[in-house]
């Protein structure tokens, strides 16, 4: 009976040791995975920043003004103010 208990103890210890080894190997692999995720996060953050930068530059009024000029848009030279009564130019029958 005593011998059996010793074997059982050795077996349990062996299982715990093996589990520990597998666990450590597993954790070690997670370290690499975490590193990969961190790199991925950096790359995605970079991309987001890049898109934000593009939006920022595209919404620049200076740039929009230049583009508008290229497309032939101009600022009104003479603004004509129409009095209230003259606002209606045609009436339907």
């Amino acid at each position: 009976m005593k011998k059996f208990k010793n074997y059982l103890l050795i077996f349990v210890l062996a299982v715990i040791a093996a589990a520990n080894i597998f666990y450590l190997i597993g954790i070690s692999a997670y370290g690499a995975e975490m590193s990969e995720l961190e790199n991925e996060e950096t790359a995605i953050s970079g991309q987001i920043q890049n898109y934000k930068e593009q939006i920022m530059n595209k919404s620049s009024l200076v740039e929009i003004g230049k583009k508008a000029e290229e497309l032939g848009f101009g600022k009104p030279q003479n603004v004509i103010y129409v009095a209230g009564e003259s606002a209606v130019v045609a009436k339907l029958p």
């Binding site: 070690s28 953050s45 930068e53 620049s60 009024l61 603004v79």
Partner: protein, 530 residues
């Protein structure tokens, strides 16, 4: 056994430290700098992706001269300096160039040079280029090499914009991967706060463009302009010329960084008359119909004879006519009626001698001479705007009080709760506004007045003090006005330094004011009166 004893006991401590240095890795987590937004939510100053190019010397497969030869044209850097940087004795990890663009990074990566690597950094971008440069300021480096804001908003709000850097330290294995069961510490970075400003980009760009055109047209050395909402003190636009590009600040002279609208002091000249007249009206010293009984000719004060700007005199002028004619003698009459003590107290009430509260770095606060030191000549000259140094920001704030029913606003670039203080009665403000409307319609700048629109304004041609006397040739020309006079949507100040086409504000600053106002009327939906 002996060797084991030495490793374990004698050198154990040092070896443990060395081992820790090998597997322990720490890094600073940078805090993203806050953005600066215009009132419409678009970005005036934002973050831009940039990279640190570093060299890991043990990984080199070529010598520093070869590497320097390959990358110096891409970096536009000096070959010799770059070669020496890469060949520093004993160095293992060398930061080569900070804040390179993604394009440059991609070009270097394409060369596939072993031992060169990149770390992400952050750079500042100003999408509107040099627009509002002096208002925004720029981000440079401090003595420790850290990003720091200088001038304008970047300087004033540097601390909140910067945020707080973090730090992380972790154990790493031989491949550089983190050991999850190892020691891990992290202090998170706290990003800088974003600033939402009152700046209206459309108004800002109109102001920039027109001011530059005006300075060129009138041959001025420079100029500055401001547009504000007089009811709240919100700064809608602020421009000065010459200017600089904040993204390329290193390429410009330091003198361009300061904002003339808040940093330069000048003797205001006739624009100041509206402040003195408001004080006299509020104190009950005069009424708009009060007759000036000394306006018949030049007036002698102590040993000085004071004349009008055009040597024309208007006997028995009313106070309204004194403002319309910009009559220096008439203003001496007003000053004498008011008295030096009361004038001083009102100037303090209007904010002269104190900060405007504007949230920009670099505001000058010229002091008023102590009350006890004012003599009759000081009183006389101050009445028409000479011998008193002010800033453009102080002037626009003071006249905002007239436009705003007597309530003096605190000037604010970043959106906040308006702070107003009643300094003159609404009745006084209304009387003064009516006088300014008359001045705009019938004063010396009447030829440039945009007919039909309700404008209250005043010109000012000031002599420039130099080394104890006044420059006989050059002037500082300014025009301040608001529209519509009785329910103002904007107040604008134009100041031109030494215009060459004419020394008079009525022929330079005033037409420039109206040319800008013509663009602003439709934008602010201001209709003609008739």
């Amino acid at each position: 056994m002996l060797k084991l004893f030495i490793w374990q006991v004698v050198t154990g401590g040092n070896l443990a430290k060395e081992a820790k240095n090998q597997y322990r890795s720490g890094k600073v987590i940078s805090a993203p700098r806050g953005n600066i937004y215009a009132a419409d939510g678009s970005i005036l100053a934002g973050r831009k992706e940039a990279w640190l190019l570093y060299a890991s010397v043990p990984d080199f497969k070529e010598g520093p001269p070869e590497i320097a030869k390959k990358i110096s044209p891409i970096l536009e850097a000096d070959y010799e300096i770059l070669k020496d940087t890469l060949a520093v004795k004993g160095a293992v990890w060398i930061p080569v160039t900070h804040k390179i663009s993604s394009e440059v990074k991609n070009n270097i990566e394409a060369l596939d040079i072993a031992g060169l690597g990149f770390e992400p950094e952050e750079d500042r971008a100003y999408p509107e280029a040099s627009a509002a440069a002096q208002l925004l300021g720029f981000v440079g480096k401090n003595a420790e090499g850290e990003d720091t804001g200088y001038f304008g908003l970047e300087g004033y709000y540097n601390l909140p914009l910067s945020g707080r850097r973090g730090y992380s330290s972790t154990d790493k294995d031989a491949k550089g991967n983190p050991i999850l069961l190892g020691d891990f510490q992290e202090v998170s970075a706290l990003g800088g706060v974003d600033l939402m400003t009152n700046i209206d980009k459309t108004v800002q760009l109109i102001l920039e463009k027109r001011l530059k055109e005006g300075i060129e047209k009138y041959g001025a050395k420079g100029g500055s302009s401001m547009v504000a909402d007089p009811t709240t003190g919100a700064i809608l636009a602020m421009a000065s010329y010459p200017s600089f590009d904040p993204a390329q600040y290193r390429e410009y002279n330091d003198s361009l960084f300061k904002n003339p609208a808040i940093s330069d002091t000048f003797e205001p000249g006739s624009v100041f008359k509206v402040v003195v007249m408001s004080a006299a009206l509020d104190a009950g010293a005069v009424e708009p119909e009060t007759i000036c009984d000394i306006c018949t000719g030049p007036f002698r004060v102590d040993k000085y004879s004071i004349a009008t700007w055009n040597n024309k005199y208007h006997p028995d002028s009313t106070m309204t006519e004194v403002i319309v004619n910009s009559d220096n003698v008439g203003m001496i009459f007003v000053g004498q009626k008011l008295g030096a003590d009361k004038l001083y107290d009102y100037l303090k009430k209007f904010g002269f001698g104190d900060s405007t509260g504007i949230d920009l770095q670099g505001e000058a606060v010229p002091a008023l001479r102590p009350k006890s030191s004012w003599n009759i000549v000081d009183l006389a000259t101050a009445s028409f705007g000479q011998g008193v140094a002010i800033t453009g920001a102080q002037l626009i704030r003071a006249v905002s009080a007239i436009a705003n029913g007597g309530k003096l606003p605190r000037l604010e670039v970043v959106k906040g709760k308006p702070k107003l203080e009643q300094i003159i009665s609404p009745q006084t403000a209304a009387k003064m506004t009516a006088m300014m409307v008359e001045a705009a319609k019938n004063g010396e700048a009447k030829w440039t007045n945009t007919r039909g629109f309700s404008v209250a304004g005043k010109t000012g041609t000031a002599q420039i003090p130099i080394a104890g006397h006044y420059d006989t040739q050059n002037t500082m020309a300014s025009f301040i006005g608001f529209s519509p006079a009785n329910n103002p949507k904007f107040i604008m100040l134009i100041t031109l330094n030494t215009p060459q086409s004419s020394p008079w504000a009525s022929e330079t600053a005033a037409p420039l004011w109206y040319s800008i106002a013509k663009d602003l009327f439709p934008y602010f939906n201001i209709q003609p009166e008739n």
